[in-house]
Symmetry: C2
């Protein structure tokens, strides 16, 4: 059975939407505890304009602090970069692994970056190649790959074209992100099947949100389609805290529990991740989505 | 594409755990609205001791009222029976379709019925044959088919033996019920695959609870394994109202939404089911599980 990688993105995709900034020391504590729980890939933050996203203002400092601390064996810290300035900052502060992406929705791309898909793709491909040339790990993603809140359905061909562009540029680690939570499991199965057929060198990652309750079903569909790398957030962070809807990322501890019950080699302690979730729920003063941090895991081994 | 049947069990498996009894008139209103939303199979109640489960005390009256009312085209009303006395009552008040079951867990069987699996199976098989001989529809279920809160793992062979017993008795409509919510999607895939291989006459139904957040993922796994009949409850009713955990049945409107997004021929209006959920949430004075009754469906057709 293939080893499953879970890329913990709660500190970035989870926190960026929160009004209340998490102090640097607490972020470092969460990162240390997530690593101790067995997570081997942890996204620390994004290199965005600190005026625009104050929650991410300490990303450079976090990487410097992590670089000067003894690292748990095998742990990789990733950072999200949106432009060349972010890449420069990331290279300067010790990022191991760069994540960057292009939206498959023209409207989403323009709203998010001020550029259309074609221009954004050219820049992201060049950035990815530069990061790789600097000896760094690189993951490129297709955002809104399963549908878009602005445009609705996103043609599969457009997603496949973007993946081909990445592959042609030698960028073989590709994430398909369901930014809006619009994916359904049959679509996940079909799209990852089509992407996998493009090139056997491809390492596929999936990134789902639980906006319409389909997050774990989609993760299972991806797993069944051969995806072994999953992005998720402890406590299902990432939903808007001002609505009743659990629209955050797929919840790490719930995903770990599901994959573990299926016999996957995950190597992560869902109960230990849940402790970080409980701390975050106390910090934000509200219940967080996800189930396992309330129930604990099923109390006996899977058959 | 096969037509999917959703068997709405909220009025039975959902309500039986609620302290606050729902008045008969309101139940009739919910049933009418669920049928108008497109649900073609609705479980009205169970024939249990009214002293023990006051919430189900009006089951006979509900069936009499429904029998004397014009029925929406194609709608079937089902009732759960636990013993011969219940079957007699059901035959007397006009039940179309009888549901009955045996637990695959010896401990669960004894706690639930006072009988071990072997004795309970003999009685249920005889009841099923009697109901069929009376010209009624019959579904037999294996409860705790995926694991048990008392015993832990349930051997697959024991589930298959029970299904074989049903088949040998000519009872070909079989539901596998995840009473405790312990199923995982890989297990669902494997177990339904094994059951389907027993006999091509079999009509398979699945029944999942969302105790550990895996309900919809399990439903998808069952769908992918060829199951076209699903039991679910509007608003995800059926969890204990005194815990924070959403441990109820898989939520009908969320399941309808998921199946519809995958292009299944469901024929049910998730938004109309959601209106019944909202009414139930107001009646019980607490938020109910499930997502779609808060978000509404994804606002564009699936690709």
């Amino acid at each position: 059975m293939a080893i499953v990688t879970i890329h913990e993105v709660g500190l970035r995709d989870g926190l960026q939407i929160e009004e209340q900034a998490v102090p640097t020391e607490r972020k470092l504590d969460w990162i240390a505890r997530l690593a101790a729980a067995g997570l081997r890939m942890i996204q620390v933050g994004s290199f965005v304009n600190p005026q625009k996203v104050p929650q991410m203002a300490d990303t450079d400092e976090l990487f410097r602090r992590l670089s000067s601390t003894e690292r748990p064996p095998g742990v990789v810290y990733s950072g999200l970069v949106l432009n060349e300035r972010g890449l420069e900052r990331g290279l300067a502060c010790g990022v191991d692994y760069f994540c960057m992406g292009v939206s498959a929705s023209e409207t989403h791309s323009r709203k998010n970056t001020g550029m259309g898909i074609a221009e954004a793709t050219g820049r992201i491909v060049a950035m990815g190649q530069a990061a790789a040339a600097a000896g760094k790990g690189v993951q490129v993603s297709v955002q809104s790959a399963f549908g878009c809140g602005f445009e609705g359905a996103v043609p599969r061909g457009r997603v496949l074209d973007l993946v081909r562009r990445f592959l042609d540029a030698g960028l073989t680690s590709v994430s398909l992100a369901d930014t809006a939570g619009h994916a359904n499991p049959a679509q996940v199965d079909a799209l990852f099947g089509a992407v996998r057929a493009l090139d056997e060198r491809l390492t596929m990652t999936c990134h789902f949100h639980d906006t319409y309750g389909m997050g774990l079903a989609n993760a299972y569909a991806a797993w069944r389609a051969g995806v072994t790398s999953f992005e998720s957030a402890f406590g299902g962070l990432g939903g808007c805290p001002f609505t009743a809807v659990a629209a955050g990322n797929v919840c790490t501890e719930d995903l770990v529990h599901l994959l573990s019950r299926m016999g996957s080699n995950v190597g992560i302690d869902a109960a230990a991740v849940s402790e970080v979730t409980k701390d975050a729920a106390a910090f934000f003063g509200r219940p967080l989505p996800g189930v396992i941090h309330r129930t604990g895991p099923i109390p006996y081994p899977a058959a």
